[in-house]
Each structure stands twice: as C-alpha cells, then as structure tokens.
C-alpha cells in the first residue's frame, strides 16, 4: 500500500461557496487504486500557499493529486506555484499544445498558457475541457495536477489512473444500517471487535434523530489481499446481529 495526499485549490472552496466534490471523487478513486489517503489540504489561489501545500504533501506521501487552478485565467496559478516550489522551468510542451489546438480554430496567449507545463512532465488528455492534466515525477514520487471543473477532473483521472495503480491490492468496505441502535450502546462492542480485528477498520455513523428515532450505520473496511472480502463480511454480519439483539 502506498500513501497519498490530496490538495484542493480554490478560494470558492474556502469561502464555502462550492462543495469540494473533487476531493471526494479523487479520495475514493485513490483508495480503490491502492492508496492510503493520509491527508487533504485545501488552499487559496495564492502562489506561496499552493507551493507550500505541494512541498508538505510530497514529504509524507508517494503520490500527490491536486485539483484547481489550471485554466486560462489570471488566478489559475497552480503550475506556476508548483514550478517555483520545486525550481522547475515552465516550458511550452508540444503534446499539450497539440491537445489544445485540436479544440480551437485560433490560439491566444490565454490558450497557450495552458500548454506551458513544468519541464519533464507529461500532459494528460482532457476529454471534457481544454486544459490538459499534468503528470510529473519528483524523487520517485508522482504528482498529478488536475483542473477544478469536476467533469474535467474525472475525464483526466480516467486517462491517468492505469499509470498509478498499486498492483495486487484490494480495498473493500461495506456498511449496514441498524435501526433503533444508539451509538453509545454500540460503542463497547465495536471497540472489542476493533481490538480483535486490527487489520479492519470499524466505525459507526449515527443517523436519524438520536433519541426519538435513533439508528447507526455500521461500516467495516479493510485493505490487503483478496481474503479481505470474507473478513469484512463476517465481522459486519456478526457485529450487526449482536447489536440488533442489544438494541
């Protein structure tokens, strides 16, 4: 299992104007591709903030994925910030330029800007918009830089995911809703099961109205080889049966 950090860039996320669906999409994908997503960082459209986020993310992980700040406007500064942080030059990439030219009859400085990517990086095709994604490798760590529009994030991610998949790795989670169970009643038994199954992660999420109509969603997850499916199912079944009796 490898470690990943996700960076989301954009003032509209930090002002609460936009829900950070990109983070959730990327986190889910990375989890299933074999990564333990260690941390998320959300930063402003600011050169120093973005650069520092990349530096701190790369320190603790094997893979960094960012979204936001990759378009043609003045505040799309992710590639500039990233290049400054790691002393890379931004150079006009011919493959990227071709990808952008396919979409327009004529080029402008704003359109060309999207083909200026860090030296030694690879542009990734964007089938839902203009700005290509960027894949870079620094000190044996992969960095994937994506735009902010969710549809484009998904398109580019689909085009790059095979390159970052961790082989021979399985992630599995399953959950079950238990009506009428209070979280504070379930807690001791969940703790016991968690202790006896250190390779699984067991969590309860309360739902409903806590006292008049309580309920918890019980979630069990695990990573490793394919034996994990059976382990997760068994623990979820046992635990839910016991909790439904306890009520």
């Amino acid at each position: 299992m490898k470690k990943a950090v996700i960076i989301t860039i954009g003032n509209e996320i930090l002002s609460g104007r936009t829900l950070n669906t990109n983070f959730t999409y990327i986190a889910r994908k990375l989890t299933y591709l074999g990564y333990d997503v260690l941390r998320g960082i959300i930063v402003k459209d600011d050169i120093e903030e973005i650069g520092n986020a990349f530096k701190s993310a790369i320190e603790s992980s094997d893979l960094v994925v960012s979204s936001g700040g990759l378009g043609p406007t003045y505040d799309d500064m992710t590639l500039l910030s990233f290049s400054k942080a790691f002393n890379l030059k931004l150079t006009l990439n011919n493959d990227a330029l071709e990808m952008i030219k396919e979409k327009f009859d004529n080029m402008t400085p704003e359109r060309e800007k999207m083909a200026m990517i860090p030296e030694n990086s690879i542009p990734i095709r964007n089938d839902a918009g203009t700005a290509p994604g960027v894949l870079v490798n620094i000190n044996n760590k992969d960095i994937i830089i994506l735009p902010g529009v969710p549809r484009e994030v998904e398109s580019i991610f689909e085009n790059v995911q095979e390159r970052i998949k961790v082989p021979g790795y399985v992630y599995y989670d399953k959950s079950l809703r238990l009506d009428g169970v209070l979280e504070s009643i379930a807690a001791p038994l969940i703790k016991e099961y968690a202790k006896n199954n250190p390779d699984l992660y067991i969590k309860s999420h309360p739902y409903g109205i806590e006292f008049s109509k309580p309920g918890i969603e019980l979630e069990v997850s695990g990573r490793g080889d394919s034996s994990i499916y059976e382990k997760v199912d068994k623990v979820l079944r046992e635990l839910s049966e016991k909790l439904m009796v306890k009520g």
Copy 2:
C-alpha cells in the same frame, strides 16, 4: 478581518465515502462572520495527525474550527489528541455532564467520556445529539471543536457563533451565468478588471459543455464595510455586459 483554519477529522472523508459537507457549512459561516478562511486540513482518526493539525492551524490563524471525532466510540479521539498536543488535562466538566444527563436515563462510561473536556474549556449545547461542542481559548486564539454529524455541527455552531463574530464587517458575493461565453475569451477582460479592483475577487467558473454549449459563471466578491455591496454589483454588471457583447 480575522483568519481561520478549518480541520475535518475522519477516515470516512479520506476514503471518499463521505462528502465533506461540514467543511463547506463551516467555511460559509466563518466567511460571513468576518473570517478569511486561509486553509482546510483533512486528517484521519489518529492522535498524532489530529494533534499536528491543531498545532499547525493555530500557528497561522485567530480561530480554528474542527469537526469529527467527538462521540462515544473508541475512534472518537479529537479531545484526547487536542489535549495532548497542548498539554491540557481532560477533566470531567459538570456543565457538559448535565447536558448529557438530560438526554439519558442512566449514564455509562461511553456517555461520561463525552463530558471529559480540556481544562478551562466551555461546553456548547448540542440540540441535535449528545456530545456537546467545546470552545477553548489558547494564547488569545479561539478553538471550536465540533462532532461529525452535520445536523449536530449546525446545531452547536448556531449556539456559539455570536461569541466569535467579527464586529463591523461585511462579506458579499454575487454571481451571474453568462451563456455562450468561453473562459479563454473572457480571461483578458477579467484580468483587467481584477487589476483595477484590487479590493474585489473576480473569478470565472466554466459550466455547460465547453465547445458545443459553453458558458461561464462570473463571481465577484469583496469584504470590508458596507460600501462593498455597491462595488461588487457595479463590477459584476459592467463585466457581464461587456462579456455578453464579446460572446
């Protein structure tokens, strides 16, 4: 204007299982209460990760708000992590205990756990669940610790927001959808307006299908005294009129 950092705690966010709606709710509230939300940090249910997140957040801000990890189960470890990070004792708080006792006929160790809060902190009433929120002040900085269930986050936040409001401060944003406008066409004019209005933030968000049916959402926002309303409206109006002509 004061600065804030938001921490979200929970493996279910990092695995992409749960959308981080708490972050967006808190970010929106803090923005309107007079805070510049500098950064967001998403961390696991892990004592060291949570402690480090609080330490780094407090360094760069006047207010830190966290959500997640405040319930009765074994992996609800936010208060423990916070206390360890700042060398505070967790003590049984009588007001918190009363709030919890109101909800149950009998107490258990798991229920009492929720009344163990850092010394010198204030419990904040949770009208939608059990675990009270916690307000602490360290070196003249406020820290608000909330649970992870969105309904409870909102309930507690409503009960604490008057205490953290920045007086005499206005935030305003407004947006408009411009059908048929391509972002790369709009970019130069937006840049010019941004340069001439350094107190405003002007951003475009592409929507629709970029080439067959393009469009941008134009967003203008500002902070300060009440003159900001007129400024934002004026710039949004002018800019959108010019862009619609350009197409």
